[in-house]
């Protein structure tokens, strides 16, 4: 009998939720054996999720993980909460339905670059546009892993894969710019290889009300090994990544002696030691700017010319879809009274037949 040991029944040994008891990482570990390839970036993401969840002081039964199809989408089986492993690309739509039915739940969507940006792009854009109160984690390893190594919509131009032996002829989609174009209210990028940054970003995403869109750069050991190696280690990465901090000038590199300026909306790197540009001319990050222009400029920074920006690009308070929906329902009941089905059926012209 061959049977995988993911999914299914709850860990019945676990106690029922008790608001007074502080939950720990262990409470969110499901009894299922985790089945990702050795060295997969997903392990790190799972571990940080399980660390962040207890911090949120939400009863365990109120968490729901919804996923699509792909390596990343196996994650709900490994988190001991409610979970729904749905169909390819549709997790944002299913999760929206969950929030319509019960806005009090903390709903997380787990998707990947194929699931969320190829077959399910439409749902992702519209969910972000509606600002449904969800946390969307997009694991980006720039490759199709579950189907064993075809290029994905985020693969670099020219990349050679099983389905592109002569190199891809497609320009990649940029997830952050797409989320900004959809007027995302929380848009962030982090990297699986930096657990501290990942955890901090996840926690901020979880605390944001509205759609939190987090792109998580992640290695695929088997089919795209080393895709984000440049950004991995703190030492090697100093020149290759720039950390976004609200209200602070954009500086990076050893001793933060490099910075980003912009002329005619074109970003430029300045060396603060050799250039004549004073540090005061550097761009200052503003995640609360109403205009997504600066965020889009930063999202487009790419090696080899530029470092990759990590952190929160945008964080705005705007009404959520689910709160507006609930407000319309309570508003209608206040205005017209709680619905009475007898009145509903007897509305309009009626007549009696004796």
């Amino acid at each position: 009998m061959s049977k995988t040991t993911t999914g299914g029944a709850p860990d019945t040994a676990a106690p029922a939720s008790d608001c007074l008891r502080v939950l720990t990482r262990q409470d969110f570990q499901s009894p299922q054996t985790v089945r990702w390839c050795p060295g997969c970036g997903d392990y790190s993401i799972l571990a940080q999720i399980q660390r962040v969840l207890p911090e949120l002081r939400v009863p365990r039964e109120n968490f729901v993980f919804v996923s699509g199809i792909g390596c990343s989408s196996r994650l709900p089986y490994y988190v001991n909460t409610y979970g729904f492993h749905t169909i390819h690309g549709r997790a944002p739509a299913v999760a929206t339905g969950v929030k319509c039915a019960n806005p009090n739940l903390s709903v997380w969507v787990v998707t990947g670059d194929g699931d969320g940006l190829s077959i399910g792009t439409n749902h992702l854009i519209h969910t972000i546009r509606r600002n449904v109160d969800l946390n969307i984690l997009l694991f980006n390893n720039r490759i199709y892993g579950l189907t064993k190594g075809q290029y994905s919509p985020t693969s670099e131009f020219g990349k050679k894969t099983k389905s592109s032996p002569m190199g891809t002829i497609e320009q990649p989609i940029r997830p952050i710019q797409m989320a900004l174009a959809a007027e995302g209210t929380f848009v962030a990028r982090t990297i699986a290889a930096d657990p501290a940054h990942l955890r901090e970003t996840l926690e901020r995403a979880a605390r944001h009300r509205g759609t939190s869109f987090v792109e998580i750069l992640q290695n695929c050991r088997v089919f795209n090994d080393g895709t984000f190696d440049d950004l991995k280690g703190r030492d090697a990465a100093e020149d290759d990544r720039i950390l976004l901090r609200h209200g602070e000038p954009l500086r990076f590199g050893a001793g933060e002696r490099k910075g980003i300026t912009a002329r005619n909306l074109t970003p430029q790197i300045v060396d603060l030691d050799s250039s004549e540009t004073p540090a005061g001319d550097l761009l200052v990050h503003d995640e609360r700017a109403n205009s997504p222009a600066l965020a889009a400029l930063l999202a487009a920074l790419e090696p080899p010319e530029f470092p990759v920006a990590l952190g929160v690009f945008r964080a705005l308070d705007r009404p959520t879809y689910d709160s507006l929906l609930s407000a319309q329902i309570t508003g209608a009941a206040e205005q017209r009274g709680q619905g009475d089905v007898r009145q509903l059926l007897n509305a309009g012209t009626t007549w009696e037949v004796e």
């Binding site: 039964e61 001991n80 749905t86 439409n122 619905g339 089905v341 007897n346 009696e352």
Partner: protein, 617 residues
């Protein structure tokens, strides 16, 4: 027909009548048609009506493409369709006359707005000569009325702008028609008072035009006869008029209310299902959460997500939209969640004829998913039945934790009939499997009777679990690729749906208990079959009618009923889909009457087919 004195003219008694109002899409024909239907209903007649909208969004004024019609049949209880052919045609312009004349009964009445028969309008309708003058209408009783002019005179005292006064002429036409059928004006005057409460000038102008039309008919010599139509012997109770789409929405609201769960309706706009979306969006005070999704796929997925979270997820669509939902329906089958899917069928494939009716999605509803993927399939027989079947869909979906597909169609969606308002307390209690407790909980531990798995929405402490599209191990719900387990789960899912046969009504014969011909139908062919069989029975012919409202599972007594008849005629708006299903399961002499011209069956089409079978040796 018998005669009685009335206003110095002949008053003929008739059992039923069919009238069509036709004009330009801006002439207000839908409004006067539906008002006439209400007046006929209030006077105790049975009615059945069907609008015929132009398919263009806004065709040029006066053209053939812009003709909007509203046909209704009213009279005794045998009225079950909007009528095969109108006896009275009210034509507001030449295009309306041209489009509708071919269907008018020979000897029928044409009431034409002669003021609209100008050379420009005649040209737009491709008339070489004026049909009111060239003798081409000699087979009919032609009554030309200068409606535009008379309406102008009747409303001259009004302060509203002339263009707005001109638009009152539909009420002039309605006044004429009400006199012709000996119906009172009072209920309509009261309706106008309510409708135009805030704009008394508009109310007064419409009322003046209505009275003028009525009085004109009453005093002129143009009308030598008028008609008194029989009342219907309908079951006692309070009635209202509903269209199929309204009734679907009402059935869903009442069903979810009865189940004590919130309704989440996720849908993408599509003809002819959009009115369900509009109707449900109006009723937020019932906690109805309506989501207009980005596409058909998202609509179905959001409904599934809502069901997972403890609401009753409902989605609705038509034709191509249903094709897009297929993958998600498989997920609902696999995860065994309650889901109601309304399919208001239209003529396909592909974009097909979006405003025309067809019943060609039966096989798709039964089988249109990959894998062994059983679902409950229901079909409403009439506009009012849409309410009961929507309620039934909610009942079965929740009790058995299964997707339920409910078939309606463009004809039912738009046709209207009297609907006996049910007493809420008489509707069945719904039993919802929300009773699991953490002790011994497993997501696929089934109720031994219904085989339903427990419904445990997120937010329930102590029973956190994961479901999904992957095959699950029996009972535990752990992902399983074991062949033996899959075989068992496929059988369990099929058995669960099959067992519902014990929980649905037996099929009923209307007419002969046994005999020569049994007519079997499903969905909107009901009205035409019922009327045709009824006519033949009154002529003592050995025929019966059996109408299927449950297509999967089928009622459990069909195997007992079919052998009682020599021949079984299956009437459906496709090329023989139900016949395929029945022939697979039963041995009988199945014959078929099919139609795919985008229109509902006519009574005479069904009657002719039955008579042909009766005359066979």
């Amino acid at each position: 027909m018998s005669t009685a004195p009335g206003n110095g003219r002949e008053l003929l008694q008739v059992q039923h009548a069919t009238v069509r109002f036709a004009g330009d899409s801006g002439d207000g024909m839908q409004l006067v048609g539906s008002q006439f239907a209400d007046i006929a209903s209030l006077s105790g007649s049975a009615i059945c009506s069907f609008p015929d909208f132009p398919s263009d969004i806004r065709a040029p004024v006066g053209t053939l493409g812009g003709v909007s019609g509203y046909q209704l049949s009213f009279g005794d209880q045998h009225v079950t369709t909007p009528g095969d052919a109108p006896f009275v045609l009210v034509a507001m312009n030449p295009a309306a006359l041209k489009v509708c004349l071919p269907e008018l009964q020979k000897g029928g009445i044409v009431i034409a707005n002669e003021d609209a028969f100008t050379s420009a309008n005649l040209q737009k309708a491709d008339y070489g000569a004026n049909p009111l003058e060239d003798g081409s209408l000699d087979d009919y009783r032609l009554i030309p009325v200068p409606m535009s002019r008379l309406n102008d005179e009747a409303t001259a005292a009004s302060s509203i702008p002339k263009s707005q006064r001109e638009r009152c002429k539909n009420f002039f036409a309605l006044g004429l028609t009400l006199w012709l059928y000996d119906r009172p004006l009072q209920p309509l005057l009261e309706w106008l008072m309510r409708k135009f409460q805030r704009v008394p000038e508009v109310m007064a102008a419409n009322a003046a035009s209505l009275r003028a039309g009525y009085n004109f008919a009453n005093t002129t010599e143009l009308f030598r006869v008028h008609f008194q139509v029989a009342q219907a012997k309908l079951p006692p109770g309070r009635y209202r008029r509903v269209t199929g789409n309204e009734a679907l929405a009402l059935g869903c609201i009442v069903g979810c209310h009865r189940a004590g769960r919130p309704l989440v309706y996720a849908s993408y706009p599509i003809t002819p299902a959009s009115e369900v979306l509009h109707e449900l969006a109006k009723h937020k005070e019932f906690g109805v959460r309506v989501m207009q999704a980005e596409d058909e796929i998202a609509a179905c997925c959001a409904a599934i997500g809502a069901s997972f979270a403890g609401a009753i997820g409902i989605t609705g669509s038509s034709g191509p939209g249903m094709a897009l939902k297929t993958e998600a329906l498989g997920l609902a089958v696999m995860t065994e969640l309650p889901l109601v899917v309304l399919n208001v069928q239209r003529a396909g494939p592909s974009t097909g004829m979006p405003t025309k009716t067809e019943q060609a999605d039966l096989l798709m509803a039964l089988h249109g998913r990959h894998g062994e993927s059983p679902a409950v399939v229901l079909a409403a027989a009439s506009a009012g039945d849409c309410f009961h079947m929507a309620f039934e869909a909610v009942r079965l979906a929740t009790k058995y934790m299964t997707p339920v597909l409910l078939l309606s169609d463009s004809f039912l969606a738009n046709s209207a009939e009297p609907f006996r308002i049910p007493d809420i307390s008489s509707l069945p209690e719904l039993c919802v499997p929300l009773t699991a407790t953490p002790e011994n909980f497993a997501p696929y531990r089934r109720d031994p009777q219904t085989l339903a798995r427990p419904w445990v929405p997120p937010g329930t402490p102590g029973m956190e679990h994961r479901i999904g599209g992957l095959e699950k191990e029996d009972v535990t719900g752990i992902v399983s690729y074991d062949g033996g387990n899959h075989t068992r789960m496929v059988a369990l899912r099929a058995d669960k749906v099959a067992r519902i046969a014990a929980d649905i009504p037996l099929a009923e014969l209307v007419g002969a208990e046994r005999g020569q011909v049994l007519v079997v139908g499903w969905g909107s062919s009901y009205g035409a079959i019922a009327a045709a069989v009824d006519e033949l029975r009154r002529e003592d012919q050995p025929v019966a009618h059996l109408h299927l409202r449950y297509l999967n599972p089928l009622p459990r007594n069909l195997g007992e009923l079919f052998p009682r008849f020599e021949r079984i005629l299956i009437v459906e708006g496709n090329r023989g889909q139900l016949k395929t299903i029945l022939r697979d399961q039963f041995t009988a002499s199945f014959l078929q009457l099919n139609k795919v011209d985008g229109r509902p069956f006519l009574i005479r089409e069904v009657r002719t087919a039955i008579q042909e079978l009766l005359s066979r040796e």
